[in-house]
Symmetry: C2
DNA sequence: CTGAAAGCGCTTACAG
DNA sequence: CTGAAAGCGCTTACAG
């Protein structure tokens, strides 16, 4: 035992076995032990097995810091986001870290809202840790982070955020998702379909509106009035539905730009005695369960598949890191319609 | 330039400068460069300055992997959680990572719901990265993670989760927060104060109920009926309020166990023409803004200060890692009442 | 005040 | 099929 090991142990620090311990116990060189454990090189099956058994006995955990130093890789990724709200980031991060863990890669999280200094500090800490690459996630698809990143000298993949020219990025396929939602309504026999959504300066709002229009066009239907753009809030949905009632122009279906708007819409109708889904069908967007499950009736809505988005981004980043060719550009990943009861689809 | 450097550079890999580059350019030994950069050792101010200037010129970033290898520290923490929902984890993680970044420490996130294998894999990846310590976060204060952690051989701090005997853990001070909420109501002249909350088998529900009782007792008031325990949902709040109306026993204030319940309560009253806050004041718990801001009127509620909780836990973990004495046990951190309009406090 | 040397725990040419 | 040696980029006794 070295002096250091003795000192650490007497200080109560748990001392891990190293590859030298494994090699010694298995009567092979460190070289052979390394190769046996990593499945590289050629050696007798017997030797490889013996080394592995010994490693298991010693509960050996390779020190990826040491490995990283020689391989010039840290097996580590950074996830940088300005969404501290959690709505997007956590599902995304969990999909990402699950996929990465399978490959021995861990991910650093740096979440900071509106605090450029904090993001910068986190970024610097990650640079010093020599992360192999970076995932940059936002909270809207047409905005980047609130800081100008310095030249990073490492691969970067963008998710749910605006990306610079030539970068690799992933966003949900808002337009097709919207089209699918509206088609669902059409398939249930609705033909006066309105759209209430978020602010027009959000690209997501524009894409969803466009999906709504094109599904109607394909079916030979006219939009029921213009789309009503405003805040992504319940209040917006509530007031707009209220206004429809007052004007006597209630449609037979409403496609909403998000679940909160849908919630407000349903509340307003319920309050006024308009029945959902009998009189008017409602679809949301996001599948944010605290809303989608809490509406009466439960909300049919679009799930953006955020964990899958995180996973895809991570895998693309890994390819980039490995120097594999990755087509630059914006990848639009498919979303899924989650059918509950707000359209009457399950009553048939 | 070494062969490796040449090869990497020709492969388009950005090559960082090392401490040797800095030392050479500043005409000092690597030893001196290291000491100058770290502020250790004694040397002329002039030398130290010169080294630092050169480091800045070369945009030198110390390789914390190499440093970690010799110092047997990775300057890295793991955050393990089974809350993929995001409600608790992300605010907590952002407070944690901000506080850690200030100290050059980065945090790995592993979030996995109900997937023991995934958590195990992530944990193993973190062990191999030699994280200096672990933060284990849950989604209720009386449950641990769904996996039995193997002996970890590293410091651990628990947050918002059950902790084993003798461990260091942090939870919000539910009982005093509840007491403060109820005192607020009493201070506004309310004296028939009911309590609607989550399932009784949640410790958080029991603590909040107990805070409600003791605030009333201190003020010489009787509880308005027994606490109504059930799900943490809007539906529970809605139905219970509805039942109060039907029974003709509407109190003049309701302290709710969370914001969702409060939301349901307010909706039911509004629907029945009972005015909030004029006829009945409502307080929630969580300060979950999508709910607390969306109720009409906006909700007065308790903020648990999750970023601060994450920060405190991180600092305690750092102390543990540094071998400083840390008192074991459960630390109950103070919460804050956020006054909005559902109690009429701002109308005075 | 400054530096040469050893070493952290691995991987990987290179040699046999 | 196997191993001795060099080296990844730092820090830190030890020596002067």
């Amino acid at each position: 035992m070295t002096d250091r090991a003795a000192k650490l142990q007497s200080a109560g620090v748990y001392q891990r076995s190293t590859i030298r311990d494994v090699a010694a116990r298995a009567n092979v060189s460190v070289t052979t032990a390394s190769r046996a454990l990593n499945g590289t090189g050629r050696m007798s099956e017997e030797t490889r097995e013996r080394v592995r058994t010994v490693a298991a006995e010693l509960d050996y955990r390779p020190n990826s810091i040491a490995r990283g130093l020689v391989q010039q890789r840290s097996f580590t990724l950074g996830l940088l986001t300005n969404d501290t709200y959690g709505r997007f980031t956590l599902p995304l991060a969990s999909g990402l870290s699950a996929a990465m863990a399978d490959r021995g890669v861990s991910v650093f999280l740096s979440a900071g809202e509106y605090e450029p200094e904090s993001l910068t500090l986190n970024l610097r800490a990650m640079e010093e840790k020599r992360v192999d690459g970076l995932i940059i996630a936002g909270k809207r698809i047409d905005r980047g982070l609130p800081i100008d990143l310095p030249p990073l000298g490492m691969p970067v993949v963008y998710v749910y955020a605006a990306a610079p020219e030539g970068a690799v990025s992933f966003v949900p396929d808002d337009e097709n998702a919207a089209r699918a939602a509206v088609r669902h309504l059409i398939g249930l026999g609705r033909n006066r379909i309105a759209h209430i959504t978020g602010p027009e300066d959000f690209k997501a709002a524009r894409l969803r509106e466009s999906g709504w229009r094109s599904a109607l066009r394909e079916a030979g239907l006219a939009p029921h009035g213009p789309a009503v753009f405003s805040a992504w809030t319940e209040a917006h949905g509530f007031q707009t539905a209220r206004a429809m009632i007052d004007a006597g122009g209630v449609p037979d279906a409403i496609f909403c730009g998000n679940d909160q708007i849908a919630r407000g819409v349903i509340d307003a109708f319920t309050l006024a005695g308009v029945r959902v889904p009998q009189d008017v069908a409602v679809v949301g967007f996001d599948n944010w369960e605290v809303f989608a499950q809490a509406t009466r009736p439960p909300l049919t809505t679009i799930d953006m598949g955020l964990p899958g988005l995180g996973r895809s981004a991570g895998l693309a980043l890994l390819d980039l890191i490995d120097g594999k060719p990755v087509e630059p550009g914006v990848r639009e990943t498919p979303c899924q319609l989650v059918v509950r009861e707000s359209c009457g689809a399950n009553d048939v």
